[in-house]
Symmetry: C2
Subunit: 340 residues, 2 copies
Amino acid sequence: MSVRVAVFGATGVVGKEMLAILEERMFPASDVHALASRRSIGVEVSYGDRTLKCADLENFDFSKVDLVLMAAGADAAREWAPKIAAAGAVVIDNSSAFRMDDDVPLIVPEVNPDAIDAMPRNIIANPNCSTAQLVVALKPLHDRAIIKRVVVSTYQSVSGAGKDAMDELWTQTRGIFVNDPVTKEQFTRQIAFNVIPHIDVFMKGGDTKEEWKMTVETQKILDPAIKLTATCVRVPTFVGHAEAVNVEFAQPMPAKEARALLRESPGLMVVDNPDEDAYVTPVECVGEFATFVSRLRDDPTVENGLNFWCVSDNLRKGAALNAVQIAELLVNRGVLKSAA
Amino acid sequence: MSVRVAVFGATGVVGKEMLAILEERMFPASDVHALASRRSIGVEVSYGDRTLKCADLENFDFSKVDLVLMAAGADAAREWAPKIAAAGAVVIDNSSAFRMDDDVPLIVPEVNPDAIDAMPRNIIANPNCSTAQLVVALKPLHDRAIIKRVVVSTYQSVSGAGKDAMDELWTQTRGIFVNDPVTKEQFTRQIAFNVIPHIDVFMKGGDTKEEWKMTVETQKILDPAIKLTATCVRVPTFVGHAEAVNVEFAQPMPAKEARALLRESPGLMVVDNPDEDAYVTPVECVGEFATFVSRLRDDPTVENGLNFWCVSDNLRKGAALNAVQIAELLVNRGVLKSAA
């Protein structure tokens, strides 16, 4: 079979990765459309060796496609996803618009593929970037030893906030070299040579929405019984999110066993040998499909405690790759019936 | 009274801060000597408006001073501190050489000033940078509600690794703008636009020595009963360490109460109002004396849980300021009897 696909928001950092990954993974697409808002009509984007010209999403006939990968903001998603689904296409949405809706599955294919069985609205949600890589690492451990509680601190790259945020890190950094004043638009503080404990908006109680998302999305994808508290921090890296994770299990999960278990688990790559300084940092994960786990250590301060370090390309596993994996799942399970 | 002081290692990033802070805080010094290794003899360093010429530490007569602030590595400290103490001066050492020795007090003046009463070797140790700011924040909370367990992830600036490390961040970053290849000497990975979960050497069990120090130093300074697990991460900031801290107490410690308590506690500045984006980031703490606490939040995932964010100038509270505060303590308690 082959699928007629549209990428909605094709000029953004995630949209471009979606096109790249559809091609890299040889997704069985018979037809690929790049859609963008009016000001980007005609802009050229790459799909493998081919160049696509962005079409106007406002005037696109969505009945011509089977699948739409949405890489736009939550507002655009709320406006467009229901219309697209009504036109007959399945929507995989990367925004936070529908993630916590009961009738929208929130899927990480390595973790909860069966959630795809119920999608009454023809909309599937892609999780937040920092959640996606975390649940891939937690899932095999949870299956073996039952996670009770997670304390996680993140080191999130600016690409999670989009292209303008990447430009701001670049421009501020260059400005510091040539003594230009630092100007801020995307971030509340200087991000060049700084870290900012503030991602998305603050909520009642003092958590940011990014921190809240990590809790509720992990519960929806993996297990509602898991308790998770997060501190989400923006750091001056361009691509690749890192997480320092502390886990408390109901049953023993020594680092040695966790290492062996995670080595055999889907979507993961264990790089963990202190004797050889073997661990993964954000710049090393860019462009990779895997979620990398390093620095697995017993935590003796709590019963059945474990520390680890987890790194992944936030534009890939945290966004575009996971969306394409969901699309692959739809194809493999015969959910997308199409142009065959 | 007035004190004859020498700063040992006066050309390093910490030595320079020691001289600056002695002057800023109007330490009652009758005489200040800047000492350095042979290759830096004659190098000029600032002490307030005055300029000092570095003298050769090898040929310095330590019986001419009452107090030596040491800002050298652990090897130099092990060689020199006993000789200096034997010559009659009190040594405040910033290295890790003596910190865990039973007969050397490890002091953060806001936390355990009375430890100064027993210093049989005339050597006092200054804690590790990431520990110093943490215990200042933890102490008032511990006194009120008894800390059981701490999970901390750090965001540590390159200045903690010295001047060459700062130069490496600068040079690598500039190199990326002009397409020079990234060369690494001070760090195991590229530090520009990256984060590295590796500070100091790896130990048996997988913790780094930096992580181990945070545990054992917190126990020695604050309370041996506190359990602490740390993940220490180098980030591309020049000065200022940040920490995401999760604490479990024996008794209730709501964020609201913690905020009020910490506002009244020595050495601390609470900047915490999400409605106004009020929190402190590393670039904002540079040159300050305070340890800043922000983002105090109840952690509902554990009984009596609390999250907070803690930032301080690692060259100041984490090193030079704390050493000068110890010197002030010696003066205030009449331990230094001198040139009066």
